[in-house]
Amino acid sequence: DQQVKQNSPSLSVQEGRISILNCDYTNSMFDYFLWYKKYPAEGPTFLISISSIKDKNEDGRFTVFLNKSAKHLSLHIVPSQPGDSAVYFCAAPNFAGGTSYGKLTFGQGTILTVHP
């Protein structure tokens, strides 16, 4: 049961334009979401997060939007740069077993390619 879904395996954008990466979730109990970025041959790195008490969180060129009624979040990158080319994962805390212990459930990932 994939509780966090990224339905677009890949996205290609031009440098300077906006990149929008989408993520859907099925569990209405999720109250916190994170985005991770992963370059080839490296581990994922934390990018930005959002709590369900907010509908937007911004950090420089990166903004995450949360639509709780639609169970949907999106990551906007403006302006996109070639160095943003990476795999992006959304994630939510995993409470399977009753206690999270910080566990996360990840989406399948979206490969972003930013062309110069």
Binding site: L34, A41, E42, P44, F46, P93, G102, G107
Partner: protein
């Protein structure tokens, strides 16, 4: 960068042999995790640890075991490697925050395992 190392970084092994992957951290974080990354599946949790000698199963634990005899080391063992366990394995760490939990995880560089 969080002090997380994984060894080996690459390994090729034969079906049926046992394999142990090591994760070592210098951050003194309480929680540790093992994930595998496969195309189309994102990152899936194998096992996790919430303290020394305290471990539990994740969503894809069959065929794997773990041990944590000290805070800094978390070992993942494939009892009898199979071709379906060919994957990239990531270790991650996190530390409960002041609010009781922190969902931000820090990842190691990964181990690429090929089972022939």
């Amino acid at each position: 960068d969080a002090g997380i190392t994984q060894s080996p970084r690459h390994k090729v092994t034969e079906t049926g042999t046992p394999v142990t992957l090591r994760c070592h951290q210098t951050e003194n974080h309480r929680y540790m995790y093992w994930y595998r990354q496969d195309p189309g599946h994102g990152l899936r949790l194998i096992h996790y640890s919430y303290g020394v000698k305290d471990t539990d199963k994740g969503e894809v634990s069959d065929g794997y075991s773990v041990s944590r005899s000290k805070t800094e080391d978390f070992l993942l063992t494939l009892e009898s490697a199979t071709s379906s366990q060919t994957s990239v394995y990531f270790c991650a760490i996190s530390e409960p925050g002041l609010a009781g939990v922190s969902y931000e995880q820090y990842f190691g560089p990964g181990t690429r395992l090929t089972v022939t």
